[in-house]
Amino acid sequence: MNTQRLLSYPEAIREALNQEMERDPSVIVFGLGVDDPKAILGTTKGLVERFGPHRVFDTPLSEDSMTGVAIGAALAGLRPVHVHIRMDFMLLAMNQIINMAAKMRYMFGGGDIYVPLVIRTLIGKSWGQGPQHSQSLYPLLMNIPGLKIVAPSTPYDAKGCMIQSIRDDNPVVFIEHRLLYYQKGHVPEETYTRAFGKARLLAEGSDITLVGISQMAVECLRAKRYLEEAGISAEVIDPVSLSPLDIDTIASSVSKTGRLIVVDNAWMVCGAGAEIITQLIERNINMQVHRMGFAFVTCPTTPTLEEHFYPNAKKIASRAYEMLYPDRKPWTPKTELQLEEIEFKGPF
């Protein structure tokens, strides 16, 4: 077993798809562009050659109905993986996702009705993605019973969560941030599943807990490095699974540090941060809290405005400093660390 093998995030996803399709002939993959030369940023590359066009196929631009098709195929015994190259396009599928996929088992009283469906959906930011190519709408979905939602930030968790999503007998929304595609990490070659409802402690610390969702987990790791300059020790948690949410892991961290910043990779109103903090308050945890997330405006395209729109490592670090030292004058990291390479490599 080569535990030291490094894979990128998209390589981890491609490996998971290959291994599951190999193992289980009922797994199919479809969506706009899955069999084209770009192959969903490489994640579906080679699948159609290996498994054939009945198992891997492009679709008409019919997000709504193709989601219904996925549900129907799932009822007939298949395990479809439906891919949306951008989450913005998935909005056209909300009727089928919320009214049917999430509800079918419940509204038909359980029994032999279940919907083993994976919806892969890519989110992103930067370089002019703008208003309709950058949205990260998981808070809308977290509000819906009957859906499982994961947004892993590491290649290891990406592979394990993908395999778990495919094997799960329920609809799973699998959220992938494009900037995470540059992440590399240790990924075992053999198949393994990553249980849902279990957060990942990315780095230990004692002064403050930083919870980052999706790519914001990476920004939190970078913030931790900046905070070291100021002598602050941050603990960093990636929830990985947004629904169900592992509040225990976050709660025990915050009980220790007494301070929490949740960095949403989305707008904050009724968001993951709001949910996490509320659940902690309900547990009477004594803490200082703060939320960060997108500015509550439509995402602008030009970089000078976009810079203000998103949280980033420096903003998180600066906010953490303020929480620890409310009486001192504000601090922003001076040095420009080369942090593109910040990656979580283990241990697992």
């Binding site: 199919i28 009945h54 679709t59 008409p60 019919s62 709504d64 109905s65 193709m66 989601t67 219904g68 098709v69 996925a70 549900i71 129907g72 195929a73 799932a74 009822l75 007939a76 015994g77 298949l78 479809p80 009727n95 089928q96 009214n99 049917m100 079918m104 088992r105 419940y106 509204m107 038909f108 009283g109 359980g110 029994g111 032999d112 009705i113 279940y114 019973p145 009957g146 499982k148 094997r167 799960d168 007998d169 329920n170």
Partner: protein, 319 residues
């Protein structure tokens, strides 16, 4: 049209009579508030479901809408579980969680009905994809109303079904109205079949509600679909006698005339079938069906409501 033997006509009559009488009972009991969900009655439209379901065989499946009592029963769905479901009881086909609009009996191939217009059409198509993928020669029938034609999902679904040559029969029960809105106030012209055909499948319109014609036509199409020739579209003109939702007439609303419905009542297929049978055969069937209905309502009455703990069950399937 070929002649049909008595045994077959009896079968049709039994199914038609069962549906009509069950719904009449539902309408009668409805004001007592024993039925715990709104009801969209199929009275007047039964011949579509019966004609088509009689042309199916075991292993074939149907998907439908909130106006689904007729389809459910015509496909052999369990009557006791249906009435218990309407009563909100734990013994219902969806354990009381669905009600009249969410009937299901997977053993009989009733794969579920939905209260969102058009939503089961793509799901039918996906199920057909699964059947074809697994090399099955079973067929899916997707039932929906003329209102569903307005939805994007309808068009997307027909396109995909034709593209992949999937084993699905689309059945539009055109009763001219979506609630109170006439189909010609929603569509440029009376061309539903032409639109369906343009996606690449045979499309046929049956105008007179004749149950034998529906049966024969469905049978012919289903055979072709079974042989792998791809989807077919069938438009069946029909008439809902009662109000859109609820047990009453609705002529006082003024959106349609009593005359419009009267001409359909004159050619009621239930009466027509009854007249083709001997009175002795008719009363044997009717007595049996009446007993079945009585038993089903008693079963629903006696069944318990779900306990509170049931609220949190059936959200996810535990693997």
């Amino acid at each position: 049209m070929k002649t049909f033997d008595t045994a077959f006509i009896e079968r049709l009559y039994r199914s038609m009579y069962l549906i009509r009488r069950v719904e009449e009972e539902i309408a009668r009991i409805y004001p007592t508030d024993k039925i715990k969900s709104p009801v969209h009655l199929s009275i007047g439209q039964e011949a579509v479901s019966v004609g088509i379901c009689e042309a199916l065989r075991d292993g074939d499946v149907v998907f439908g809408t909130y106006r689904g009592h007729a389809m459910y029963l015509a496909k052999g769905g369990d009557l006791k579980k249906m009435i218990a479901e309407l009563y909100g009881k734990i013994t219902g086909c969806a354990r009381g969680k669905g009600g009249s609009m969410h009937l299901i009996d997977t053993e009989k191939g009733v794969m579920g009905t939905s209260a969102i217009v058009g939503t089961t059409i793509p799901i039918s198509v996906g199920y057909a994809y699964g059947l074809k993928y697994n090399g099955s020669d079973s067929v899916v029938v997707s039932f929906f109303g003329d209102g569903a034609i307005d939805e994007g999902a309808f068009h997307e679904s027909l396109n995909f079904a034709a593209l992949k040559k999937l084993p699905v029969l689309f059945v539009c029960e055109n009763n001219f109205y979506a609630i109170h809105s006439h189909h010609l106030s929603r569509h440029h012209s009376d061309n539903i079949c032409e639109r369906a055909a343009s996606y690449g499948m045979p499309a046929e319109k049956i105008e007179d509600g004749d149950i034998f014609r529906i049966y024969e036509s469905a049978g012919k199409h289903i055979e072709a679909i079974r042989q792998g020739k791809g989807p077919v579209f069938l438009e069946c003109i029909t008439c809902r006698w009662k109000e859109h939702v609820g047990p009453n007439d609705d002529f006082h609303l003024g959106y349609r005339s009593e005359k419009e419905v009267a001409c359909w009542k004159e050619k009621d297929q239930l009466t027509r079938l009854r007249n083709l049978l001997s009175s002795n055969n008719v009363s044997v069937i009717e007595n049996e069906v009446e007993q079945e209905i009585k038993d089903a309502f008693e079963f629903a009455e006696k069944s318990p409501f779900p306990e509170g703990v049931v609220l949190y069950e059936d959200v996810f399937k535990e693997s």
